[in-house]
Amino acid sequence: MTATALPAKSARAWDRLSLRQKRVLWAWSFLAVPILFYSAIRFWPTLEAFALSFTNWNLLRPAAFVGLENYKRLLADPLFWQVFGNTFLYLIIGTPVSLVISFTVAYYLDRVRFMHGFIRALYFIPFLTTAVAMAWVWRWFYQPVPIGIFNAILTWFGIPQQPFLRSTTQALPAILAPAVWAGLGFQVIIFIAGLRAIPTSYYEAARIDGVSEFTILRRITLPLLKPTIVFLVVFSSIGFLRIFDQVYNMNFNDPGGPLNTTKPLVLMIYQTAFKSLDMGYAAAQTVVLFLILLAVSLIQLRILKDR
């Protein structure tokens, strides 16, 4: 009896609502599961990460509040400063190099009509590859003669072999190379889309005035491309600051080596949390990573917007 009465009653209540009220109820019913998801899987863990960073939890003993102890330890840790420097090296080399190459390619590729799609595909396909798979291909390329291709090419030209991944100075750029390589295709496509969005009338006016190609590039193309450039600078910077897959795989016997010269912050976090199980300390490192990403994005947005 009640079982049948209830839906009928609620149906009548539903009918009494105005159209507007009904739509509001629909909206919240659409949002119910997502709000639950974002609260449980995004917001709560964020707060938890902050909270854990003030504890000494290590999976074995219950967490105890230690205040800023983890952060003090981190600032006093020479490894952290080395890792901090490495992380910025990935960013400072990776972002300009990849953007200059991808812009140059996009600038000229945009004017090419003959086999345009085919050439674009050659640049774009690496973007679709799995970083882990390609890390191993590049690792193979860096091997000494007679295995590695790079050293084979060097010896053909009579240049001595290079240690690449085994060198404390060459390993970081060697690991960065596949990351830059894989990202180029994406940047080229975005740059081309940005170039296409610039109205051709600007160019026509400039050409009628007899302005040189270089001046057009500097005075018209680059300023109008600014939103695209801002997006790509921020996007690729965040990518380089979070580099992990390549580092972990290319020197798998000593991830981050040799002598920690290639270790980025994310790898340090991984090792602290899941190898040393020092969760509280690792949480403090993730907070630092968050602050770095936030600061870098804000600074870049600020600088690039002003100009």
Partner: protein, 285 residues
């Protein structure tokens, strides 16, 4: 006359083929070939036997699929392949459904709290995944999700990026279409699913491509949340396989090829949609 108009519309076509153009084309082409070298060498070496690995020629002398037979024979790679496929498909379906639903609600419904919900979701973009993995791992071990498919999938079931992308696109859908649905007596869910969704298919394909690719290649979280070989995704499995093979490069390249070939095939089939999707996502996102 018509020729002149066409030439004006397309400033490039106005110029005849000059030596400079040919040089630029050639340089771009060579650059593209260089870009493809790692992939080509990987594929070529996967077809060589161990004695030919040191022979750095691109075309194998006696190409054979023996390495593939050897790598695939014990079924591990097949398992990892299916794991990755299953995870990526489930997460993609979930994102297409929920990101669109939320994006649509935020774009097309007027209600108090809409702006707060939008800002709250958008603000999660600032939180790097790495910051959440420790709480996620804690959550996964408390609920017994470690070493399960759900454990690999749950962090990515909805994304702020996808929601933002879909919201941008739903805002371009004219309200008249939705009103027409209401006049026809459709409920709001049906209007979204039957009327609004078909109008934003380019955005849906962009979202699907990005989500699938991101999950197919994901390494960091699957590495953390899986312990047993049977639950590894392809990148995690490939990494452990490569470590095990040590210096058998032809085997490692075969494994790497198995992870790469499917995306190459998908790209060749869907090239237009993928490139357009990347452009859409990049410009709107």
């Amino acid at each position: 006359m018509t020729m002149n108009v066409a030439a004006l519309e397309n400033p490039v076509a106005r110029r005849s083929i000059r030596p400079g153009r040919i040089i630029i084309w050639t340089l771009l082409f060579l650059g593209g070939v260089v870009m493809m070298t790692p992939i080509l060498f990987m594929l070529s070496t996967s077809l060589k036997d161990a004695s030919q690995v040191y022979d750095l020629r691109l075309i194998p002398e006696a190409p054979s699929l023996d390495n593939y037979v050897a790598v695939l024979s014990d079924g591990r790679f097949l398992r990892w392949f299916l794991n990755s496929l299953f995870v990526a498909v489930c997460v993609t379906v979930s994102n297409v459904f929920f990101d669109s639903l939320v994006g649509y609600t935020l774009a097309k419904f007027n209600f108090r709290g809409r702006y707060i919900v939008f800002i709250a979701i958008l603000s999660t973009l600032m939180i790097p995944t790495e910051m959440l993995v420790i709480p996620w791992y804690l959550m996964a071990s408390n609920f017994g999700w470690v070493d399960t498919y759900w454990g690999i999938m749950f962090p990515g079931m909805m994304t702020a990026f996808g929601t933002f992308l879909m919201k941008q696109f739903f805002e371009t859908v004219p309200d008249e279409f939705l009103e027409a649905g209401r006049v026809d007596g459709l409920n709001e869910f049906t209007i979204w699913w039957r009327v609004a969704m078909p109008l934003v298919t380019p955005a849906i394909s962009a979202l699907a491509i990005f989500t699938f690719l991101g999950n197919w290649t994901a390494f960091f979280w699957p590495l953390i949340v899986t312990n047993s070989r049977d639950l590894y995704t392809l990148p995690v499995g490939l990494s452990s396989f490569a470590v095990e093979q040590a210096i058998q490069w032809e085997m490692i390249m075969t494994g790497a090829s198995i992870a790469t070939i499917p995306t190459l095939i998908v790209f060749l089939l869907l090239q237009r949609y993928i490139v357009r999707g990347v452009m859409l996502a990049g410009l709107k996102g």
